[in-house]
């Protein structure tokens, strides 16, 4: 999936299911949108569904440093690359 498509999908998820209003790619997710640890776990499940494979515990822990939508996109791209041979 291209970064452009990923962005479209992630923003749609954040707006439709996490009730984000006017999300900016570099907004601080917690400060601007009240995104918390529960949301992070829920979003990871959505990302797994989108990617079509399960993330390892270690890979999920890496997501805990995410702060912005751009970070989310970087993370997904890196996961896609890491699982290319799966």
């Amino acid at each position: 999936m291209t970064r452009e498509n990923l962005e479209k999908n992630i923003v749609a998820i954040l707006v439709d299911e996490f009730e984000f209003e006017n999300p900016g790619l570099n907004d601080n997710l917690r400060d601007v949108h009240g995104f918390d640890s529960i949301d992070a776990i829920e979003l990871l499940a959505k990302i797994e569904e989108m990617l079509g494979f399960q993330l390892s515990r270690k890979e999920k822990e890496q997501a805990m440093s995410i702060r912005t939508i751009n970070d989310i996109l970087d993370y997904i791209v890196s996961m896609q690359d890491a699982h290319k041979t799966d």
């Binding site: 009240g34 529960i38 829920e42 797994e48 399960q54």
Partner: protein, 410 residues
């Protein structure tokens, strides 16, 4: 030193209405909230009892995802009635978050709907490898989900009590909240209970031959507490909350004082976990009177537990007769809506407060031919216009838990 504890707000979502005026209308007009059991696509066809105390009107919750992401259906009921009592109370935001306000609230077993979803997810997705259960399903389904969703929604930082004791859940919630305020551990408590639509509970009572089955085609004719032709309980749903406050501070801030909790008792039968126990129940009723420092003849009205089971109503009648004789009026309010399980004590207290305020007593619905073993009581035969000064709310649960709350008009 002990402090007086008053009720300064209440709210109940019940099968006979949500707003006070709707509930009072139902009580005055003898309108039942028992309806045909809704199909759950799983157990309904296997259950003999086809009736349920149903909340079938829309409720405008207005909760955002920030709140609902940790809420199952039971927490919607709980948070809605908690929101109502806080709004009606006029308590300041500073007080609400001060640590001096606590929550005593629970349900029979959290959210069975979410628990069922967990198993569906688990067993349904094993083969494709996506067996992960929703990360917040535990928060939505755990036994104290109602209490902590209330704290979360309103930023409450005081004590949390989540007593989950089946049919005495919310009467214990109120009783323990009363003790928190009475003994100075908290200045105010939001107390109550909730239970959502759930066929598991119906199935359990059905298997115990305790559910009503003879009135499946005429749901409004059951349950029939104290009636010769009663055939068991009807499970129901709902949510109810009361706000308890220390009397002096409530008075000083000009709060609307609805009533006063003057006594509470709770004990256990110390044996059988199902059968009602005359000694245990009688003891509870007497302990509550002692706590309230009042005599049996001071009590004007008894809201009986009265589930309409064959043995339960008889044992309760004997207990009332032993403790009170035939002076106080007695009614079984479950006759209007079935047994709302963890919610029933709070609902029955609120209905009693409404009737105290309005100066009437509603009769036990469907009580047409009084069982001779229950006939020694002073049953409310029809709507009576009368002033109630002190009311007793009695509840008994599986597990041998008995409770009695005494409230007074202020």
């Amino acid at each position: 030193m002990t402090r007086r504890v008053v009720i300064t707000a209440c709210s109940a979502i019940t099968p006979i209405g949500y707003k006070k005026k709707d509930i009072i209308k139902s009580l005055r007009e003898g309108r039942s909230g028992v309806k045909p059991l809704r199909d759950d696509g799983l157990l309904t066809d296997h259950i003999h009892s086809k009736v349920f105390g149903t909340v079938d009107y829309p409720i405008d919750y207005g909760f955002g995802r920030k709140d609902t992401k940790t809420m199952g259906p039971v927490a919607y009921y709980a948070c809605q009635v908690a929101k109502d009592v806080l709004a009606a109370s006029g308590l300041s935001q500073d007080f609400i978050t001060s640590g001096r306000l606590g929550v005593s609230f629970s349900s029979t077993h959290g959210s069975p709907t979410i628990q069922r979803n967990i198993y569906k997810t688990f067993f349904g997705n094993l083969e494709n490898g996506f067996s992960s259960i929703g990360a917040v399903d535990y928060l939505k389904s755990m036994v104290h989900t109602t209490a902590v969703n209330i704290t979360r929604m309103f930023g409450i930082t005081g004590r949390v009590i989540a007593s989950s004791t089946a049919c005495t859940t919310s009467s214990q919630s109120i009783g323990f909240g009363y003790e928190m305020v009475k003994y100075g551990m908290q200045d105010a408590m939001i107390c109550g209970g909730a239970d959502e639509y759930d066929t598991t509970t119906v199935a359990v009572f059905d298997n115990l031959l305790a559910c009503s089955v003879d009135y499946n085609d005429t749901p409004e004719c059951t349950p029939r507490p104290f009636d010769t032709n009663r055939d068991g309980l009807v499970v129901g749903e709902g949510g109810a909350a009361v706000l308890l406050e220390e009397y002096e501070s409530a008075k000083a801030r000009g709060a609307n004082i609805i009533g006063e909790v003057i006594g509470f008792a709770c004990n256990n039968n110390g044996g059988d976990l199902i059968l009602p126990n005359l000694d245990g129940i009688t003891s509870t009723l007497r302990l509550a009177l002692q706590d309230a420092k009042c005599n049996p003849e001071d009590v004007d009205f008894i809201s009986a537990h009265a589930t309409a089971t064959k043995m339960g109503d008889v044992i309760e009648s004997q207990a009332i007769d032993q403790v009170y004789g035939s002076k106080p009026y007695v009614a079984g309010l479950k006759s209007y809506m079935g047994h709302t399980m963890g919610t029933c004590g709070a609902i029955e207290m609120i209905l009693s407060l409404y009737m105290m305020e309005q100066g009437f007593l509603a009769p036990t619905l469907n009580l047409e031919t009084i069982d001779e073993r229950c006939a020694m009581l002073n049953h409310v035969p029809e709507v009576i216009e009368t002033k109630t000064r002190i009311a007793a709310i009695q509840n008994f649960a599986f597990g041998g838990v008995n409770t009695c709350l005494l409230v007074r008009d202020v």
